[in-house]
Symmetry: C2
Subunit: 707 residues, 2 copies
């Protein structure tokens, strides 16, 4: 069902409308009226049991008493009456309800029950719900202000959604202070029904909204969010501030909204996969929002700087390069032209220093000339208020050029007292202007990141030919024996079924059998204890390597099984795995754990010290495409080890990527896998493949898996 | 000589004063007058060859024609006349001159010569000089505005120095817009005489200046800067923005001021050693400046958050923890009191959520109670403009409590339109208020970093008992042979003289001698080619390890020398070093290269892959104390390898630190060493020491060393 009625309803009922100006039920009616919603065709119906008028509008005791149709109801009555009001709405045929009232999930167990009841009613009647426990909904185009905000924000190209209503009040206040222009604003509250994914879908093709902004605390249905966001962000930029990334921060989320915070790694991977631009602070978000809303796309990474002061030019250069962008290298013709026109002391190379006595005409000339240079993808114009500087006129120059420019132009007017009149010109003309060059550089960087994401094709998921039935039967056997962990003998069956490369190996029940197998597969071999009760084999002395003869194998078998029994007296011992000893190679770790919000989070890293000491790992949420698996292996800091360093040849990245993808498929096919670890995967040089030496799996308890 | 005359002169002459309002010579006289400098005892003398008056002050043809004494002259005449004006000043007995005029070092070779001439004159007469090529000097206490700035900045506790005059105009404009309150402002220009170190020294005990701010592009006398700054920053915070840190940025510095930019690593080490707080942007600098100026010191890392909105509380928590600070854990009594007073839906644990309907009294109660909790070192008060929020009154509550509080209180009033009236209360009362919690967290972090630095004792340099004469004679021999590089045979002499632990080894001139030496020192041994012409021994097959018998040694000797001659036919071959083979251990790299500004920059890192792939190294500028060497080894990301991981025991950090310090002493004693590399140093577990296996040195060419 479309959620258009939330933004462009023909009539709005306010259930709980009040004549008392300090009540929210009054503010909402007031905002609807003052926000300009009322017209010949658009009605507002205050619902209140007492007959009379509210702000000159006649009240009705119930929505059912309203003669005409109603598209949207705003409920602002005590929590215990909300369910009844929902039924009224349903009976009236209202399909869209904003529940402002608090006292639901956020307030504890009883509240949660009330919320579930309300949602049940909503489903029954086909009602979509925003909230409960929210600030309301605003659409500046309609115009509709169905919220208790203190006034209406100015119109603009930014659609904003916020999980936190309180933060929403600050956002609206920033907007009303001139920082943001909004197309839509939704306070999501408890997200009992409508959530971020719904709004993304609804706003994807909204012509008024050029950029979608989101303040996110938790995404309980993370997979759905990724699915929707990855398509929407191909159409327009989605910028998010995610809170609760650190441990204490995450705890605060839990106590705040009662929802589970996903791990920072999962969010990082999810946003990367979905093309969501992460802003590190609201300040960054506002800067990005203005850049994306008001500038043409940045088509490359080559930025030109025009400045009347060397110092800030250097600061800008530093900031651009630190963020991975490049200083544009002008063509010779451009440098010559600049040299001809600019004074001797000026610098015609990028950053272009038009020097302290530049008036607006000199800026104008320099910018116009640079705009003609095909080696420039964006221009940052810096101004400091020197003795003869034309602060306002130069701003006008930039604004005028920005209007027709196909590449982004941004201002950096530094200062406040005198500089303000220039900054006002930028603001009035919707050309971004940052007071500090570092912030401008971050905007260009965000635009560059978005361009790269947008250029990527929508990921296609490959499916390998695997034997799911084998895995199914292994899992069934494990669960039937009330076990949850799977060690290497059984995990070998799984790896074989998913065609992961594994070294030749067989289970031996006795020392003699072990020697026999070893002779068959060829020396040297490795012996490992095989027991469902021993997961960490080396801890119990359960591994012997480099065994070169039958007698060494026999000795090792006896030694290992003796030790295992001594360390874990009750352990069921199946025997020992006799495995062909493989040559040394690069140690790789491939793992997976279930993120509570996003599901299977696959980890990749170089094994041993790199994972343990440096935590040098990368993440993707399964399912992922081949391209995403490739990106994953290039994200680690030690990626050059895969390329070969210190005279070593490059590693077999193809086999590595295939392996990561097969693991991705396995954990997608079997969501009952709670954890998985291949450690180590031994990787060889190009075309030489590799071996998954050990895989450990943990299944979810059956109840949880079923949920 | 004191430079007090620049800030509090009895009389000022403006050489080049003008009646033309568009000339700088007019602006300066105007600023002196409008800035309030003139009084019964304070005179301004416009110097101009034409008789008359400028802004009602009578002109004089020369300073020598002025009857009374003059303490300060401001020169603003064309470059070629400056030298003569300097002589006049000298003859008149003026000891302080600000040269505004440009056309010196920054304009090329001739300008440089003019600058050197001017400085010669200054030295001759004992004149101190600010500039040339600068904006001037301001002291708001005197008050003195001897600059051509557009107006005078408001008084305040911040002393600002800027290498860039243009950036200075922006700084002053921010100040005049209410962002900063300045005690002093100096535009340093070309720094022909007075530089950052001079001003630090002068402002260290200035009671009006609570914090020193610096915009730095280059520090040609880096060692002097460290020496002065490390003492001044014990007295008051020194905050710097350093530009030119990236490669292109550094290039821009060179073309801008003609001075050499030090490497980012050297600056990082220098600022760390000198206790200088690095701000990543001017915005951060302003935030820090307000924090340090207006708040009591932060005595620990435990921060409390009071907020009327959950979301921003989480953002603040994230930002605090990301920066390494902690959320304060309240004592039980405090939580109980908060629970008693706050509504049920509020959160009494940190972050304290006083929830959306909080009026100023609830904020007041919560903050007052938290102020009594001894587990809190600082408080961040966050406000969003909700329906009933007391924006202004709550700001007043924070301001009033901040006035008497012994711990820092900071505001974070989020929003703009309605919130502005609260922000104004903060500004009017000089209580820091950041619009975004992330920025407030960075301020607390800067305060914490400074507290830690201040708690450290002034470093004491230990001197080991070494034999400098041996090193001197080795260097003399090398230089006399027109060589600059020193390989392991000769470098062993140096290591012995500085008592660096080295494995037993001797030079053998023949295969037989090699076998003899090996038998004496014991097998196994390593053989390495010894030649002044071969620095990279392994590249020519010049190393053989694990030789276990006399005959193996003889064979290896012949093989190595044969190969060496084949690869480098003209090489002078001294023979082979026979070295006791040492057990495996942790590979360490200790190096040094000369930074053009700071001198000997010593590098430490774990050898092999960690240095090559991860660039995981730390730096200090020699000389450094034992404490600084200790910090150095803890700064690398792989420090846990020194502590022992994967079952390995901790390494012998004492020997490692001693070795780093001895290297520090060596490069301090012999500034003619251009580069030094000990690679590898093999380090063993605690109390087992280590060995410097190879050391390579490069000397500066003699001319350069003498300079």
């Amino acid at each position: 069902m479309s959620i258009e009625a939330f933004f462009n309803p023909r009539a709005v009922a306010v259930i709980g409308a009040s004549t008392n100006p300090i009540k929210l039920g009054y503010s909402i009616v007031e905002n609807l009226i003052k926000g300009g919603y009322l017209s010949d065709t658009r009605k507002v119906y205050p619902i209140n049991p007492k007959p009379g008028t509210i702000l000159d509008l006649p009240t009705h005791p119930s929505v059912q008493d309203v003669p005409g149709p109603i598209d949207l109801a705003v409920i602002v009555i005590p929590d215990k009456f909300v369910a009844d009001a929902m039924i009224s709405c349903g009976e009236k045929g209202i399909n869209a309800v904003v529940i402002i009232s608090a006292g639901f999930r956020e307030s504890g167990r009883e509240g949660l029950e009330r919320e579930l009841e309300v949602i049940d009613i909503a489903k029954q009647y086909g009602i979509r719900v925003v909230g409960p426990n929210c600030l309301g909904v605003i659409d500046t185009t309609t115009p509709l202000n169905a919220s208790f905000s203190a006034g209406s924000p100015p119109k603009g190209p930014m659609a904003f959604m916020s999980q936190s209503g309180a933060l929403g009040t600050a956002i609206l206040d920033w907007a009303m202070g001139g920082e943001l222009g909004l197309s839509k604003f939704v306070s999501l509250g408890n997200k009992a029904d409508i959530d971020e994914a719904d709004l993304l879908r609804a706003w994807a093709d909204d012509p008024v909204s050029k950029v979608i902004l989101a303040y996110i605390e938790a995404l309980p249905d993370g997979q759905e969010f990724i699915k929707v966001a990855r398509e929407v962000s191909k159409k327009k930029p989605v910028i998010a501030v995610k809170s609760g990334i650190t441990q204490s921060g995450a705890r605060a989320v839990v106590s705040h909204t009662g929802s589970l915070a996903g791990s920072e790694q999962a969010y990082k991977a999810a946003f990367r996969q979905a093309g969501v631009i992460r802003a590190d602070s609201l300040q960054d978000m506002f800067d990005y929002a203005r850049g994306f809303s008001y500038l043409p796309p940045l088509k490359g990474d080559r930025i030109a700087i025009v400045t009347n002061a060397g110092g800030p030019g250097i600061l800008a250069t530093d900031a651009l390069e630190r963020s991975g962008l490049k200083l544009a290298r002008f063509e010779n013709e451009c440098i010559k032209d600049l040299e001809k026109f600019l004074p001797d002391a000026a610098s015609a190379a990028n950053p272009v220093d038009v020097i302290g006595d530049a008036r607006s005409d000199r800026y104008s000339f320099a910018i116009k000339r640079i705009l003609k240079d095909p080696n420039v993808d964006g221009i940052l114009v810096i101004l400091t208020p020197q003795a003869v500087t034309d602060i306002k006129e130069t701003a006008q120059v930039v604004v005028d050029l920005a209007k027709t420019s196909k590449i982004p132009l941004m201002g950096c007017w530094m200062g406040k007292a005198r500089v303000n009149e220039g900054s006002e010109v930028f603001k009035a003309n919707n050309v971004p202007n940052c007071p500090f060059p570092e912030r401008a550089a971050k905007v260009f960087k965000a635009m560059s990141t978005y361009r790269q994401y947008r250029a990527e094709p929508i990921p296609e998921y490959e499916t390998f030919d695997v034997d799911k039935a084998v895995v199914r039967s292994v899992f069934d056997r494990i669960l039937s024996e009330n076990r949850l962990t799977i060690g290497d003998y059984e995990s070998r069956e799984i790896m074989k079924a998913y065609k992961l490369p594994i070294p030749e190996a067989e289970l031996a029940a006795s020392a003699d059998e072990a020697a026999e197998i070893a002779t068959k597969i060829g020396f040297p071999v490795v012996l490992k204890i095989s027991s469902p009760d021993i997961l960490h084999k080396t801890d119990v002395g359960g591994v012997k390597v480099d065994l070169k003869s039958a007698s060494e194998v026999q000795d090792a078998f006896d030694m290992i099984t003796y030790r295992a029994k001594r360390y874990v007296p009750d352990a069921k011992i199946w025997g020992c795995i006799v495995q062909k000893m493989v040559p040394e190679g690069l140690e790789i770790l491939i793992g997976m754990n279930q993120d509570p919000q996003f599901g299977p989070l696959v980890t990749f890293g170089l094994g041993g010290i790199f994972v343990e000491v440096l935590k040098d790992v990368s993440f993707r949420i399964a399912p992922f495409s081949r391209r995403e698996a490739e990106q994953m292996i290039y994200e680690i800091r030690t990626r050059s080890l895969l390329e070969g360093v210190r005279g070593k040849p490059p590693a077999d990245k193809k086999v590595l990527i295939d392996t990561i993808m097969r693991v991705g498929q396995l954990v997608t096919d079997f969501p009952e896998i709670a954890e998985l670890d291949i450690n180590p995967f031994i990787l060889y040089e190009e075309n030489k493949g590799g071996f998954a030496i050990d895989m450990r799996l943990v299944l979810k308890p059956e109840k949880e898996a079923a949920a």
